[in-house]
Amino acid sequence: MTSTGSAIDVSHLTKAYGSTVALNDVTLSVGTGEVRGLLGPNGSGKSSLMKTIMALTKPSYGTIHVLGYDVRANPMEIKKIVGYVPESPRLYEFLTATEYLDFIADVRGIPYEQKKERIARFVDALDLEGKQGDMISSYSQGMKQKVAIIGALLHRPRVLLMDEPLNGLDPKSARLVKELIHGLAKEGVSVMFSTHILEIAEAICDKLTILQGGKILAEGTSKDLRENAGLPGSGLEDVFLKLTGTKGVEDIVEALIR
């Protein structure tokens, strides 16, 4: 265990799946209580980065430290202190929400009274009250997402990795999750958060990292990114499109509807 002051330290991380390089020499640092937004086109490496930090896949090269723990050497410690919401979570559909959360809490060793109180509180807050006794297989995508979010928060993690957590959520729940992220950050929880909705990223993230082709393209506050792109007064969408080299969208649309 080393102490660097940052909650997440990624250094020269490269991850390859066979001949496909998902992450290429990525170096970044997320501070304690910081909300970091990960942006990038599909296949840019956002999910791979989160999986590697969560010790779900081994780095091909480079090092990762979470709260001082080397991810490769201490995967169990990482799993104890980090909460993770994957993109499109596949939950145990044969369990009810209560049974699923009960299982997560038991494996994480949360005492009975705390487990009962936390599950009830989250279920109520995320509007799952009355449906928590149904099998998860009968849930909509948004409801499954809510269960996955609760599962990631039950043990009060010190670091949260959320891969497009607002997918499928209704406006009220999306707002609640955004506020929750803010609140947790104030309590010192570090959050890494990926999304395609740039307004949300701008609204809740302290810093943004744009990935493309497995490499970091730009990093900083939204103001830094605007200046970096030479578009100081523009919206984040224009900045993103310029930095990722996406151009001629209007021409493509014209061709499609013709």
Partner: protein
């Protein structure tokens, strides 16, 4: 019924069934060109011709034509055996497919949202089953043709062809009945919750599989019917024998009898088709497991299993396994295997006359008669263990993100597999007591030996399953790769042979050299070997499971 839709749908069903064997190079090439099945059939037909010709040459003396009682016996055996074998084979293969079916995948099946009638579905599905296994039919035809020609029974062969086709249709349609029955059972049980329903669901599925398997077990049916009527006439009352009787009666020049049994066979096929159609129409779409429990459900209190030394995470893992096994259709059926398999394997022993205490010194100790039972339980445990890791499928991330060590996961899988297999063991003990009149000592020996066999085979299964897992979710998830299944089966049988060696040696010494080894000593030796093998297999599971947990399949 629209024939173009029927054939197209049959082709799609066949391709989807074959593609579930994703890791097999053979099936990949077949699914790219389904006509290859036909070509394989032709090759096997030619091979059958050769073997059929060689059989007649072997049996004929000095190159003279094969005639007389030997020829008649050969023709009756081969021609009569083909229909019976085909019905059993098609049904068993269909049953095996159903064991692996996933409700989740079936509920998104095209049949639920395409304009296809129940009749078209049943016909297409039966046709796809028939075509998939048609190479077997072709080899049977190839083998029978030279025998028919060279023994002067070409007419018999020409009658055999439609009867054999009818037999494959009977087998294929029976699978459709089973498919609908299982779907309706799963759906009915899934609408309810509670512990009693969970037990009922398992028993219901086991009962359906057992009863349908028994219906196609000639040995069992003959036993039952023989007790009612004379042994010679017994076969006439067993529908599965009707196609066989149609051909054997013809070969005995009993044309009226042959026509009668042919008519009965056709009637059987029509009846089965009607039942299959009715069931499919009634239980059209498979409802995915959507249990709506009464109430909101409550979080669990600390388990009493903690007193046994199990940690809270271990109990949670075990509970999850049990819930998975009782609610996931494809897993419920896997779980039935360690219970059904010993019963199936030990049929001959069960239906043989029980050894009596007055039958003299040559009497076989019942402990040796329960070996087939233990063999079945061992195979069942092995199979369940092999599939246990792959069952995690795309849900593996749930475990991977939790602080669950490799040893904890292996232990939970081992504990669960052993618990399920122990139900089969318990049934075995009851059967041994009732049918084999085994003593308390033998029952205790059987239970003790059974437990170590279960542990050893389950550990080996998990070791294999963790090295060759198949996490892909498809209409027919197999949970373990084809290579893994083959290696596992070979090693599993080898392991059982090693464990049984002291018993077999004791039997040989007693029978041929009159050396009597104490039964307790023999059992203890077998148990020790099994314990050692359990430990080795358990140790071998840890590393691959650790790798799985630290590198999610991409």
């Amino acid at each position: 019924m629209r024939l173009s839709v029927l054939f197209k749908f049959a082709k799609v069903l066949m391709i989807s069934r074959l593609r579930s064997t994703r890791r097999s190079i053979v099936s990949r090439s077949i699914t790219s060109r389904p006509i290859l099945i036909g070509l394989i059939g032709i090759v096997l037909f030619v091979a059958g011709l050769l073997f059929g010709y060689l059989t007649t040459v072997f049996l004929s003396s000095g190159g003279a034509p094969l005639t007389g009682p030997v020829a008649h016996q050969l023709v009756v055996t081969i021609f009569g055996g083909v229909p019976l074998f085909l019905v059993g084979f098609y049904f068993t293969m269909g049953l095996l497919w159903e064991v692996n079916a996933s409700t989740e995948a079936e509920s998104t099946d095209a049949i639920n949202w395409l304009p296809i009638t129940p009749g078209e579905y049943v016909a297409a599905s039966a046709l796809s089953t028939s075509y998939t296994y048609s190479p077997l039919l072709m080899v049977a035809f190839g083998y029978a043709l030279p025998i028919g020609i060279l023994t002067g029974n070409l007419v018999g062969f020409l009658v055999l062809v439609p009867i054999a086709l009818l037999s494959t249709s009977v087998g294929s349609v029976s699978v459709e009945i089973l498919r609908s029955a299982l779907a309706s059972a799963s759906t009915a049980f899934n609408k309810l919750g509670g512990r009693v329903t969970v037990i009922m669901r398992i028993l219901g599925i086991i009962l359906i599989l057992l009863v349908t398997q028994l219906l196609f077990s000639g040995v069992f049916l003959i036993q039952i019917i023989s007790s009612l009527v004379g042994t010679a006439a017994a076969a006439s009352f067993v529908p599965v024998f009707w196609p066989t009787l149609a051909i054997t009666k013809l070969l005995q020049s009993d044309f009226l009898g042959s026509a009668g049994f042919l008519g009965l066979s056709v009637a059987l096929f029509v009846l089965l088709s009607y039942v299959a159609l009715s069931l499919r129409a009634k239980y059209w779409a498979v409802t995915p497991g959507a249990i709506h429990f009464a109430g909101a459900g409550s979080v669990s209190r600390p388990s009493r299993l903690g007193y046994l030394g199990l940690s809270s995470p271990s109990v949670a893992m075990l509970k999850r396994e049990i819930r998975s096994a009782t609610r996931r259709k494809e897993v419920v059926r896997l779980m039935a295997i360690p219970i059904i398999m010993p019963i199936m394997i030990s049929f001959p022993a069960i239906f043989s006359p029980a050894p009596s205490s007055t039958s003299g010194p040559a009497q076989i100790d019942p402990i040796f008669l329960v070996i087939p039972f233990l063999f079945g339980i061992g195979l069942g445990s092995l199979f369940l263990g092999m599939t246990s890791i792959g069952q995690e499928g795309r849900r593996l991330w749930n475990i991977s993100t939790l602080p669950v060590s490799a040893s904890m996961l292996v232990k939970s899988k081992l504990l669960f597999t052993s618990l399920v297999s122990s139900i089969g063991l318990g049934l075995g003990a009851i059967v041994s007591a009732l049918l084999l009149h085994a003593s308390i000592l033998v029952i205790l020996g059987f239970l003790g030996l059974g437990l170590v066999v279960i542990l050893a085979e389950a550990s080996l299964g998990i070791a294999i399953g963790s090295r060759f897992p198949d996490f892909s979710d498809g209409p027919r998830p197999r949970f373990v790769t084809v290579v893994g299944s083959i290696i596992g089966a070979v090693l599993g049988i080898l392991e059982m042979a090693i464990m049984a060696f002291p018993l077999i040696l004791s039997f040989i010494l007693r029978t041929f050299l009159s050396i009597l080894l104490p039964l307790q000593f023999v059992l203890a030796l077998s148990g020790s070997v099994a314990g050692l093998l359990t430990w080795v297999a358990y140790s071998m599971s840890i590393k691959p499971v650790y790798s799985i947990l630290s590198e999610l399949p991409n």
